[in-house]
């Protein structure tokens, strides 16, 4: 399977990328690490007329402390995320992404823009309350991670917009737990717990069409419930879909257990 032909543009700046996307007039796609997009091209599920390769745009590959958060450039590779020490939750999550040859190419911005509901970074972004910086034809805007993910592989990004960076708040306590059949597979369920500014936030990935807050579980904790109580409440509120990897009932049971374990890892809600 080979990609359909496309026009290839390699901008040297965000401004050039904006111009190229505007010129593509809705038929352009941003190419970053290519670990999700290129398979779609190879299978011809996507056939953009123009590929805008942002890999050589300078200034988008830094990880830096920014107050009580860590700013991650859109082009930071998963391997670099796994190796950095500024944000331990992101480092742990990144180690679960794919395989070595995927982590060397895949990027933080690309993972969020692709919006796979089972992917690790989107769940971390929702759990920590991350803010995504987006460049567009009318300048720069920011969007909360929860407002970025609209559906499976669907975001609120415009055709001519480009994620340039993500600001992940630093949690005081956190837990990351993932269940996958084989190492490197997409998760059947990912549970991320982050205590940010005194507020415990729970996000569950792989169960619905977007990584979602488990608000019922958070409320149970706030009312003094244990980790097990909160996990059960989170599970009750889920509406998992079934596929060949797991029935809705199985996924719900798995989600309850993963949330419980993530809370225990975070040291929240007692011994579980």
């Amino acid at each position: 399977m080979k990609c359909a032909p496309f026009e290839y543009v390699r901008p040297a700046s965000v401004a050039d990328a904006m111009a190229a996307l505007a010129e593509a007039d809705g038929d352009g796609k941003v190419l970053a690490g290519g670990q999700s997009l290129v398979p779609l091209l190879a299978l011809r599920l996507a056939r953009p007329a123009v590929l805008v390769d942002v890999n050589r745009v300078p200034g988008l590959d830094a990880v830096a402390r920014d107050g009580d958060a860590v700013q991650v450039g859109a082009l930071v590779r998963h391997a670099a995320l796994a190796g950095q020490t500024l944000h331990p939750l992101i480092a742990e999550a990144a180690r679960w992404i794919g395989h070595a040859a995927i982590r060397t190419r895949g990027t933080a911005g690309g993972s969020l823009a692709h919006a796979d509901p089972a992917a690790e970074l989107p769940a971390v972004a929702v759990a920590t309350g991350a803010t995504v910086t987006v460049a567009g034809p009318d300048g720069e805007r920011t969007v909360a991670a929860e407002d970025l993910f609209v559906g499976a592989l669907v975001t609120s990004l415009g055709d001519a917009e480009l994620i340039t960076g993500v600001r992940f708040p630093l949690p005081d306590r956190w837990g990351f737990v993932e269940f996958a059949r084989r190492h490197g597979d997409f998760a059947l369920v990912t549970a991320v717990v982050a205590e940010v500014g005194g507020e415990v936030r729970i996000a569950v990935g792989g169960v619905g069409s977007v990584p979602a807050r488990a608000v019922a579980g958070e409320r149970t904790l706030a009312e003094g419930g244990t980790a097990a109580d909160a996990a059960a409440a989170a599970g009750d509120a889920l509406e998992p879909t079934g596929d060949l990897h797991g029935s809705p009932r199985y996924r719900r049971a798995l989600a309850v257990e993963m949330v419980r374990r993530a809370l225990v890892r975070a040291g929240i809600g007692g011994p579980g």
Binding site: M1, K2, R10, L43, H99, A100, A101, R182, H183
Partner: protein
């Protein structure tokens, strides 16, 4: 579109369509058919090569993206005199291949693993090779081969 990079130490200048993957360019334009293509969408790991010493699925990278990089394929493992790389020797000695289709990707992944961690446990070897699919061996002998080079204990056959 013109692209200029190095493959196994030699300079390569090509004029390719942008949609040509690095894997196809290596095989078709450079004649280096040691890089195998299984799934062509990033699942099987057979096409894994090193780009600037980092493992990359060559089917998920376009050749034009390799501009200015140094690529290492399985053909670059043996010495100039044709002497096999210790990993290749170990794959032979431990029967780490049967049909050989996955072997180039396995070797490149193992090469990167040993470059980053010279003494990985069998568990770590299994984890790191999880991105390379083999349908013949059942993986045990592949792990044995890598463990032998890493100096980890290898069970008697």
């Amino acid at each position: 579109m013109k692209v200029d990079f190095r493959v196994n130490g030699e300079r390569v200048e090509l004029d390719v369509e942008p949609r040509r993957t690095l894997a196809d360019a290596l095989r078709e334009d450079c004649g280096l058919t040691g890089t195998h293509l299984g799934c062509e969408h990033g699942v099987c790991g057979a096409c894994t090569v090193l780009v600037d010493d980092q493992p990359v699925r060559a089917c998920l990278m376009f050749a034009v993206q390799a501009e200015g990089t140094a690529v290492t394929t399985v053909e670059g493992l043996a010495g100039p005199d044709g002497r096999l790389h210790p990993l290749q020797e170990a794959f032979v000695a431990h029967h780490g291949l049967q049909c050989g289709f996955c072997t180039p990707g396995m070797l490149i992944s193992a090469l990167h693993l040993l470059a980053t961690d010279p003494g990985p446990s069998r568990e770590k070897i299994r984890e790191e090779l999880a991105g390379n699919i083999c349908r013949c061996t059942g993986y045990g002998t592949i792990v044995d081969a890598v463990a032998a080079v890493a100096g980890s204990p290898v069970p008697e056959p």
